[in-house]
Symmetry: C2
Subunit: 224 residues, 2 copies
Amino acid sequence: MTQKITIVENILSANDQIAQKNRALLDAAGVFAINIMASPGAGKTTFILKTLEALQGRLRLGVIEGDVASSIDAEKAAAAGIPAVQINTGGDCHLDAVMVANALPALPLTDLDLLIIENIGNLICPASFALGSHLNLLIASIPEGDDKPYKYPGMYRGVQALIINKIDLLPYVPFNMDYFRQGVEILNPGLVTFPVSAKTGEGMQAWADWLVERVQTWKQDLSR
Amino acid sequence: MTQKITIVENILSANDQIAQKNRALLDAAGVFAINIMASPGAGKTTFILKTLEALQGRLRLGVIEGDVASSIDAEKAAAAGIPAVQINTGGDCHLDAVMVANALPALPLTDLDLLIIENIGNLICPASFALGSHLNLLIASIPEGDDKPYKYPGMYRGVQALIINKIDLLPYVPFNMDYFRQGVEILNPGLVTFPVSAKTGEGMQAWADWLVERVQTWKQDLSR
């Protein structure tokens, strides 16, 4: 049992070492990276496509799409004219730092300001694997229900921003926003949160403005 | 690399061995077990509670609730007057046969006809771990989107029945039922499928009738 724990720790620390190298590579190229995590069907892809749209002309963008199988998402991003790389994990339930390290050379990093990494749809495994990103973002969605912070605490603890997507469905599903926010606040006090509907566009501007500000501040700090 | 693959195979086969023991124990007690899998927020808990309601007086019921953390779901089942055991995986992304083997003695098996096992909310990991159940059931839900069979093929391949939940939301979200069903048919031809709304009750009777029939046929075969 002790041996098993030691092995797990070694794997995590090997991942962390490669994540640090990814971060150094991104810093050197001046690329701010977001690791986007969510449950399957929370609307990651639509949210990312709408975010790319809102940021066009303000930041130079690139995308890494993680998937268990298929390349549906990378095709959508490429169709939007954004440099995109697809990682098929072949069954693995999360991206890891090695996969991202292998994908980075396929992107024109020095021509980018922002790299959006779409992780595998999963509320458990991705929380344990650092990728080297500057921001970990969770997308919750209204039809998932208001109990998710209580049931997936690891994921809610490990992020620096939270999107609450599909707010257009609030009239049609049972969802107590106070109960949801209370759960989030216990796990991650003061977490910055954006209620949006990627479908209708509601709230997307506030999120895009915040992100642009965040990337620009980071770039200024970097060049000091 | 070869060594790594060998280790994984050994783990899976150890799990399968214990799953077979679970099955033998359930068969001996005359208990039909369903392993219910779904994405977080697909509505597993509400669906199970409504299923229990529809089956009251027709089958003697028990529940094993799997969760990463918390005991919200087992409390709901217990409040409905059903023998329920909670398994907290402490972070693990799926139930395995050992967890179920450890939970079974806590249930009055000889007094049950049907055991419902609620797996962890996850469309990837649970597909790889047999529990000893007689039926693997997947709950998809409309707001997850119609591309899920294409993106999580392993899960769609490994089940013997499919619930399409939250059909009351069809007017409010983009969901092409033909595209969804086409993906399912490619992976799992002829899969028996029940479109339902656990919230409104639509379709729940057809599902409950099918399940009662299935359990009774199985019991008859068992006693031959």
